[in-house]
Amino acid sequence: MFGIETLTGSSQAAALVGVVLVEAMVLYVGYGALESAVGSTVLKLLGGD
């Protein structure tokens, strides 16, 4: 995945950990933006307002 398999040993391991780190940061920022954008609307809908 993402061409990581072409690397070997420690480089591949570091790349894998890096991918997980980047994914976590992207998810944090992405879901944070999503929550800001639609969070209150969703809560209003759930509350039946």
Binding site: M1, F2, I4, G9, S10, Q12, A13, A14, L16, V17, V19, V20, L21, E23, A24, M25, L27, Y28, Y31, E35, G39, S40, L43, L46, G47, G48
Partner: protein, 345 residues
């Protein structure tokens, strides 16, 4: 069948859904969800190395997100964190070596499973007992802990006072004015790292109480420092396992995508749901998790493949039960007349 990154869409959806459940649990209780991943992967037939390595990589990703959320709260003791990282790294390496050695002997699956049964069962019994007793035990850690405060001598557990009394140099001063021998910190870190590397868990559910009960660190700082430390131990652990092909991104990526969303839902729910109401479900989930691993082991021993599916159903079912209880209670609170509304997170 449709495939993405070499994995079927069904499996991707399963992992993302499982991640979502775990995220809700982690976001709400601040602990507990991640150590369901490794037994679930073991039940699904992944090799021990992949189950533990991918479990650690998932813990790493989850803790990065949690640490980002807590970085502004000032609840991290970096001196303690770095000391813990040193001890944990050594413990992780030893734990990993034990797993690889046991794998060569063909015993890894059995021994990891038995340790899981004992650990999950023990914690499950403790949490359920505390919940039934109506006490405020440390079955879970609130994300909304109070800001750093000077620790009161009466609040320090007796064991921690004893450990703090060992003046083996070098002594270090921690936040809250605590003085403790560096060797004691390293010893606690080594023990939790060993367990972390052996079981593929972040070790937070052991380390946080250990920091409080053994070192005497105030709970808010123990939580923040623990998250900071899990980020490193998870990262180092995943790197070590990835070197021997133990991290499978097609498992970790969808799990993380689901859990990051679930964690937001779970942590938003903490502000509107009484944790005590849910804690008994959490204890039961851990007990069912222990039962699931035991059923799988029995299936292997008796050669009954069907017990693997029973085991997987128990794991997924228990996580689903508790996550649903959290969401149901949150919805009930939102819809309750006179509800003051909710601020997400």
């Amino acid at each position: 069948m449709f495939e993405l990154f070499g994995i079927s869409a069904t499996m991707l959806a399963l992992f993302a859904g499982f991640g979502l459940l775990i995220g809700v649990l982690f976001g709400f209780f601040g602990m507990g969800g991640s150590f369901l991943v490794t037994p679930a992967l073991l039940v699904m037939g992944y090799p021990s190395r992949v189950a533990v390595g991918s479990g650690l990589a998932f813990v790493f990703g989850t803790s990065v997100i949690a640490t980002l959320k807590h970085r502004d709260l000032g609840q991290v003791d970096y001196k303690l964190g770095v000391s813990m990282i040193i001890g944990t790294t050594v413990g992780l390496e030893v734990g990993k070596e034990i797993v690889l050695h046991l794998e060569e002997l063909g015993l890894a699956g059995n021994i990891i499973s038995i340790t899981y049964v004992l650990l999950l069962g023990g914690i499950g019994l403790f949490v359920t007992y505390e919940a039934l007793k109506g006490g405020s035990g440390d079955g879970g850690v609130s994300h909304d802990v109070e800001e750093d405060a000077e620790i009161n001598a009466d609040d320090i557990p007796e064991i921690a006072k004893k450990i703090q009394s060992y003046s083996i140099p070098p002594m270090i001063t921690l936040r809250g004015g605590i003085q403790v021998s560096l060797w004691m910190v390293l010893l606690v870190a080594f023990a939790t790292g060993l367990l972390s590397g052996f079981l593929g868990v972040g070790g937070g559910f052991i380390r946080m109480p250990a920091l409080f009960y053994l070192i005497g660190v105030p709970v808010p700082i123990a939580v923040g420092t623990d998250l900071f430390e899990i980020m490193f131990s998870g990262g180092i652990g995943s790197f070590l396992y990835a070197q021997s092909g133990g991290v499978d991104l097609s498992i970790v990526a969808p799990l993380l995508a689901g859990s990051a969303l679930g964690a937001r839902v779970g942590s938003a729910a903490t502000s509107i749901v009484n944790e005590e109401e849910i804690k008994i479900y959490f204890g039961l989930m851990l007990l069912l998790g222990a039962l699931a691993v035991a059923v799988r082991q029995a299936g292997n021993y008796l050669g009954m493949g069907v017990l693997d599916y029973v085991s997987l159903a128990l794991i997924l079912g228990s996580a689903l039960m508790v996550a649903s209880a959290v969401i149901y209670s949150a919805l009930k609170s939102i819809r309750a007349p006179g509800s003051a509304g909710v601020t997400a997170d």
